[in-house]
Amino acid sequence: MNATTATLKARGVRPARRLRHALYAAPALALIALFVYYPIVENIRLSLYKYSAFSPVTRFVGLENYRQAAQDPVFWQALLNNIAYAVVSVVFQVGAALVLAAALEELIGRRLRGVLRTVYFIPAAVSMTVTGLLFQFLYQPDAGMVNGALRAVGLSSLEHDWLGDPGTAIWGVIAMSQWQSFGYTTMLLTVAVQRVPRELYESAHMDGAGRVRTFFTITVPMVREMTGLLVILTVSQAFLVFNEVMVMTGGGPSNSSQVLGTWLYASAFTGDDMGYASAVGTVMFLITFAAGALQLIHSRRKAAQ
């Protein structure tokens, strides 16, 4: 195949033809350069300035915006919330989802397994706005089903105004997010689990190894490419969270459930502190870029193997 590609390419040596060929990649490159690379570079530059949307005056302030962030309790609260988001998401959407995917594969017949995977995925096909508004009602202190369910099983002492209490608001949002997304990663992990050769399990079972044991000694090591990748993706997503927080709590009460994304939005479009918002954006960029770079190294290493 390499030889045929080479002959295909060898024919197009004339410069004019090479330029014409470049037209195929041109729209993609132009779009990416203008709408992906440029805004991110510009964002870093803007984070060194103080200005507002309504005045044309920009003032260079160096790293002042970053110093402001370091002294801003809401910024730290938001960062902590993102970290909590990342940790919980990794536990449920990678850890628990892997157990679920392996158990489905191991214990359920083909047809039913497919049906269950499909059912679990359904919430992921629904907008975060829809599930967010739905759960906003489910979390309501009086009529909400969460408290209703607690009452029904005799745990009314745990009843709570989940989104109205600064102590629980972000956890309510995080829990909703797990409900919505675990089916997505379960689907991906199933694909990985199915690629593990069955003979490995069969010989282990013949030697008397139980299911729990084969899960840890065969499944976990064999799918670690996928889990590694999913950990990185999940963490990266957790630092970009925006929609569900915005819809369910708007960052409140009293900024307790702010995440970096909503704090950026609030700083820019409510507080009109554009430079500061850019600085928050740059912090998000650095974290997600690091995750992305890890992912690249990860897949490079895999390709090299």
């Binding site: 295909l8 195929y24 679990y120 829809v130 739905l134 694909v191 030697d207 554009m274 918002a277």
Partner: protein, 299 residues
């Protein structure tokens, strides 16, 4: 965690030599674990489906019913709530979402397929840096750059128009989609293209008549992933569209929730209408969804 993984790397082989003694418990325990696991699977399925079904049914109730007895079925279904929600703006938002989604699906698949074709099959100047530029963009998320993006869109004169969303949804997903299609093209044999070339077909004809039909499965997967993304996207739609007539479903519904001020049945009806299209698309094309996801993440 890495440590345990590393020590267990050769475990499958080690396992074969260390046999645990089989006992009677082995025959009973699998049945019990299977039963327990089935209960967990069923409970999860209920936990996933129940809230969604409840949402659809609550659209048929009255506000009083929802608050006095949230668990019950609607006494007398109020279908008119769905009709009202439709008229309250859901239709408008739905059309906007449909327009933005279909335009960006078309654009992203076309532009990415061109790029993937150019970068895998043709001789292009600086193809290596170009490839890096495209794939490297997968690591970047422009949602962190809301401020410069809004300035850029204003400078281009497309702020607060459909174009803002179409262009951004396309540009944002071109890297991933190109990556997906490129990986697929690299695995396809080039003989048919060769033969078409010898028969005198132009590159353009080869692209449309040979490459597109052969890459159809991955193009469909890419289109479905893009549809899911564009239909549900919120941050760009919130920041770059202020005209109520142009709002897409995710933002429109959030607005509607504020506007209706606890007319919950109407809201639930609207949410259900918004959720249904993508659920249907997913159920119809889940094979393609899974393929796209697996190829994109698994490679």
């Amino acid at each position: 965690m890495t440590l345990t993984l590393d020590t267990e790397r050769s475990a499958p082989h080690a396992e074969t030599s260390t046999t645990t003694s089989p006992g009677t418990a082995r025959r009973i325990r699998p049945a019990v674990t299977r039963l327990l696991a089935c209960c967990v699977f069923a409970a999860l399925a209920v936990a996933v489906l129940y809230p969604l079904c409840w949402m659809a049914l609550s659209g048929l109730k009255t506000n009083g019913e929802i608050f006095s007895d949230p668990w019950s079925l609607p006494g007398e279904p109020h279908w008119e709530t769905y009709a009202d929600a439709w008229d309250q703006g859901v239709l408008r938002y739905l059309l906007n979402s449909a327009l933005v989604t279909s335009a960006s699906v078309l654009a992203v698949v076309l532009i990415s397929a061109w790029a993937a074709y150019g970068l895998t099959r043709l001789d292009i100047p600086c193809s290596q840096p170009a490839l890096l530029l495209v794939l490297g963009a997968m690591m970047l998320s422009p949602t962190v750059a809301l401020v410069p993006l809004s300035q850029l869109l204003q400078a281009l004169g497309i702020y607060d128009t459909y174009w803002a969303l179409i262009v951004l949804y396309t540009a944002f997903k071109v890297p991933f989609t190109t990556f997906l299609i490129r990986a697929y093209l690299l695995g396809l044999p080039t003989e048919v293209e060769e033969a078409a070339h010898i028969d005198g077909a132009s590159r353009w004809q080869i692209f449309w008549r040979v490459v597109v039909p052969m890459a159809r499965p991955i193009l469909v997967s890419a289109a479905m992933l893009q549809a899911l993304f564009a239909w549900n996207e919120y941050a760009f739609a919130l920041v770059f569209i202020t005209d109520d007539r142009l709002k897409t479903l995710p933002v429109g519904l959030a607005d509607m929730a504020g506007r209706l001020n606890s007319d919950w049945p109407m809201l639930f009806a609207g949410l259900t209408i918004a959720a249904l299209p993508m659920i249907v698309v997913f159920l119809l094309g889940q094979r393609h969804f899974v393929r796209g996801l697996a190829e994109g993440v698994g490679k």
